[in-house]
Amino acid sequence: MTTQSQDTRAPGAQQMAVYVYGIMPADIEVESGGTGVGDPPGEIRVVRHGDLAALVSDVDLSRPLGRPDDLYAHEELLDSSAAEVPVLPLRFGAVVTSDDAVAEELLGPHHDEFADALRQLEGHAEYVVRGRYVEDTILQEVLAENPPAAQLAEQIQGKDQDATRELRMQLGEFINNAIVAKREQDTRAVGVAVKDVVAASVVREATHELDAVYAAFLVETDRAPELEQALEGLARDWSDRVELRLIGPVAAYDFVGTTAPAAGG
């Protein structure tokens, strides 16, 4: 068991620490020259311990992290890796004091747990399905399906805003509830469409009022074309109603956790 460790202190007064991106099997090779978070971006290195490797880079503690470039750097490094090898992605912002801390406090004590999770992720990647309702279409759908809402709309049409505030609130609440119900229904429809292709699924919390579906799927990378195919049928059916996007392959962010490090297939 070897611990590859370097002194990460940069010369000068900067206070340097080690940013950790994710954990992979030890037998990976990292191309030299890749860069990560920070300004200037730190060079990507590997800290190995036993069967595990952590992707890290040096980071200057005196500068805040979180510029869009930092976020992209974190995600792109892990996502490009996830297409090739199993990766346990860390949440953005994980910084520890040194390479030794990575090896001895993160990888060492949790070696078997992480190694087991990586074995489960082998050959899989995450795909995120995101659908957004086309506003006019969905509003007309709601009104057509709910005569009381249509009547409310009729009462409000062309009236003074202040005078109809209560009615507007009622109508808006009605529509919002209707969309929440449609989201549940359409999310289920996506789940049904892909169920034979995916190993695990997680419904993400909607982050936009017009979200139609927001879900993450763990899929065998070999079967990604089948996933696309399954979704293309829905995308066609919903062409004027929902803008459907498939994002991936990405690292399995939704299928790692502190209590259950990997999704059971």
């Binding site: 994710g22 949440r91 994980a94 406090e105």
Partner: protein, 126 residues
């Protein structure tokens, strides 16, 4: 396997690259949390983020939906909403007053917009 960009928009189930909003949803919210594993050597660093997940107060959402309904092309609704036709003329006169609310709505949407590449750092409490 690579992330294939889909040119030309349109509805597609082909994999697409992540926008900034997707990235934020993902890497600030998901993934292993190192605090659970490492306590001793964890270093605090100031993390600035663009929090695209603005939680819109229900009231605003409701009013925005109502406004959106008001803007719907009435002709498309005629079948479902015969009663609306009568209100059509009146509607023209009221357009001006609605301008401000429209603008506010647009601004809100801009802020929550998908993949708005704009830098709006906000301190995120952790």
């Amino acid at each position: 396997m690579t992330i294939a960009a889909q040119p030309g928009g349109g509805n597609s189930a082909r994999p697409q690259p992540s926008g900034l909003a997707d990235v934020i949803d993902t890497i600030l919210d998901k993934g292993l949390v190192i605090d659970a594993y490492v306590r001793v050597s964890l270093v605090g660093i100031e993390v600035l983020t663009i929090d695209a997940r603005v939680v819109i107060a229900s009231v605003d959402t409701y009013l925005r939906f109502a406004e959106a309904v008001n803007r719907l092309d009435i002709s498309q609704e005629k079948q479902g909403l015969p009663g609306l036709v009568g209100g059509l003329e009146e509607n023209g006169a009221k357009r001006k007053t609605k301008g401000m609310l429209d603008a506010a709505g647009d601004k809100l949407r801009e802020f929550t917009a998908e993949s708005s590449g704009e830098e709006r750092p906000a301190r995120r409490s952790r």
